[in-house]
Symmetry: C2
Subunit: 331 residues, 2 copies
Amino acid sequence: MKLTLKGIARECGVSPATVSRVLRNDESFRVSPEIREKVLETVRRTGYQPDFAARSLRSSKSRMVCICGLKSMPHPLGVYSSMIDGTVSELQSHGYEALLDFSSNSVNESAYGMKFDGIISLDSDPSEGVQSYIRRNDIPCVVLSGSSEKKFDSVSADDPAALATAMDFLYSRGHRRVAYAGTMFDHQQDHICVEERFECFNKYLLNKNMDRLDVSRKTLYDAVEFLHGAIVREKVSAVLAFDHFSGLEVYRAAMLLGFKIPEDFSLISFNDVYPVARLVPAFTVMAVPAEEMGKLAARRLVLRMKGEISGAAEEFRLTESLIVRDSVKSI
Amino acid sequence: MKLTLKGIARECGVSPATVSRVLRNDESFRVSPEIREKVLETVRRTGYQPDFAARSLRSSKSRMVCICGLKSMPHPLGVYSSMIDGTVSELQSHGYEALLDFSSNSVNESAYGMKFDGIISLDSDPSEGVQSYIRRNDIPCVVLSGSSEKKFDSVSADDPAALATAMDFLYSRGHRRVAYAGTMFDHQQDHICVEERFECFNKYLLNKNMDRLDVSRKTLYDAVEFLHGAIVREKVSAVLAFDHFSGLEVYRAAMLLGFKIPEDFSLISFNDVYPVARLVPAFTVMAVPAEEMGKLAARRLVLRMKGEISGAAEEFRLTESLIVRDSVKSI
DNA sequence: CTGTTAGCGCGTTCAC
DNA sequence: GTGAACGCGCTAACAG
């Protein structure tokens, strides 16, 4: 015999509506403490759980959010892994579930007509499918790890500041000739951070009157060629890598070419992600506060879903931190 | 105005029941081809999608499966990432959605009374919470990456065979003194593969009359100490690592201690997971067919959910493959 | 503060 | 082969 709300109501000698109110913590209805306690106790004792489908059907709220915009990756999730962890756990602590949309560019059509209450988009510019879903259902969306021209709330890392921090660190250690190793992946090209980091890098050079080297590129096609050019031709003393993937490729190139880090050149990369801390030398990195970003995005989304905020979209940028390890030396 | 089944029915001049039947491909009702086509066409044209909640409420089927048993990890998902990818995509191609249960040991209580149609457990021994959920709802479960003493269907990699393959390879390259570097993580201790791989390793030694070395352990606490003992004291010529994590720790220890791979010792590990192929030397590994395992588990689950099979649990073991790269030399 | 009533959008009987 | 009616379990709206 299935446990239903009606059953609990009968058991307690109250009406179904009352049980429903207690269970939903309905603010607008005051319930006498005795009844509330009795209901709660019965629910605990019986292990009753409201039926998801029925609740969702009636209220046209699913308490589910869809995490989409995850680009198909040939590689592990890296920082996204922590972001998603953060988002999911925060969401759950507010009573929401998250569905990770592994499909690519629209809110998964095969999601079977599910009504999501909100969207977390890992893509700054949600696909047309996603946007239309958002409009049709009139649900909030927050962009995680990207900005969105004020269309949606967004939370991202403060890359301009981080770039400056990293470069200041290098500068303070005496580095004047530093090369930039860009992203390795085409599918990342439209992520703001690839543009932003490179641009800020160049601005920094300008500011400090440092040479802009020919090997520095927004995209890293061939790490070996890059590193050879950087060290031999450009006499670079340090390399700044766009992310841990690029960082590792440069590291690999160094081993292949017989250069030692940090003796022959210093290396600093973005993202404190496995395995950069377990390499020799361990990488000095700018760490994106991934989990915190995930949590913030979730909190923001919850606020919107609950209608507790409704104004214009806001942009949040979280500070990255410099983690000094062994891949940079003073010169 | 929301598109409902009733609306489609009106549009087509038929009854809701008819529309429902053609949409569900209801075998037991024959529908005239003209009507069927008309309905299908209207659905396509309007973009109608059955409401998830209503359908689920009515049929007490959700077309969702829960992937649970993911141990909380201090590290990236490694092979699990591909397994999950495989499972999810296969599930979706059969019209099911998957919810990754990030919470730990019971089917997420906050999952809000959701009725899952099936469970994929990454844990050989699903927690009491999960098992009780399975019993209460009478749904199928398949264990992925583990066996389950015939309680549930299971799919895993054929570690005994893989171990032999790896050791044969080493043996054929002249290695007679090989040490085993076990798992690094306590939370893995109860995974069969940690027992199985170590056991098979020892059996192999016995079989081939090779020395069983004192440094070989099921658990790797300190890679540096391990490697020092293995090379200096035991004169080991090769190390077999339980997984890519252990492999990387051994690699790290080698750099720290100044040993070169494969000049000073050869290394072979399990799991072809980032970044082992991007290290210098690139690891020779036994690759678990993770994605394929995920797909197989999904297919099996779908069969059970549809009631197309119902017999006793079966155990599937998939063959791992040896990927030869640069970390093993002949002696 | 609490109970009653009326559906939410489907799938499943039954009749026809 | 098709339609009408009912109800899944819950919550919103309205009484009281």
